[in-house]
Amino acid sequence: DVKVTQSSRYLVKRTGEKVFLECVQDMDHENMFWYRQDPGLGLRLIYFSYDVKMKEKGDIPEGYSVSREKKERFSLILESASTNQTSMYLCASSLGPLGYEQYFGPGTRLTVT
């Protein structure tokens, strides 16, 4: 069964902290994605990766970075968390560049105080 797991369901951090969100997929998918979900704005793409050590900016990359050292793992990093980064963060993976089916993890609800 297809599975995408995220390291935390809920996370509370202070302004200025460095935050790591981890995502692991067990489907040997090439593509991995990080989104943030906010009410009324839908899912917005932060960063994505087509292969190990490759990364591409999405629509809202400011304030974030990513790391993909292994095919199955894709990390999202908030270098200095701010209150406007309080959100639900969703990781997804898909098979190959033509795949429109993305498999999502359950999400991490991050609160920055």
Binding site: L45, S94, P106
Partner: protein, 112 residues
């Protein structure tokens, strides 16, 4: 820049009724238009998808209608059930690169 616009933001339907969610897109470089369903506490999951050269696709109670000339597509849920209560996202898939652009989402509530 929002390339996929979805409406309504929320929808309340009686059990047995028809739920209709609409989306419009701007870019012609899209090659698939999927719909995702998200239950509370879960990530979105693919529900149904359509190619732009097809005008309608039906899977069970779920139907996508596609109007290429108007750059619009919609999801119809026939005989809506309380178990259909969820947030629905339309999306558009770029024909190069695998990116999805999502609409703003519609929170559907089906009343018994």
């Amino acid at each position: 820049q929002q390339q996929v616009k979805q409406s309504p933001q929320s929808l309340i339907v009686q059990k047995g009724g028809i739920s209709i969610i609409n989306c419009a897109y701007e870019n012609t470089a899209f090659d698939y238009f999927p719909w995702y369903q998200q239950f509370p506490g879960k990530g979105p999951a693919l529900l149904i998808a359509i190619r732009p050269d097809v005008s309608e696709k039906k899977e069970g109670r779920f139907t996508i209608s596609f109007n290429k000339s108007a750059k619009q597509f919609s999801l119809h849920i026939m005989d809506s059930q309380p178990g259909d209560s969820a947030t629905y996202f339309c999306a558009a898939h770029y024909n190069q690169g695998g990116k999805l652009i999502f609409g703003q989402g519609t929170e559907l509530s089906v009343k018994p």
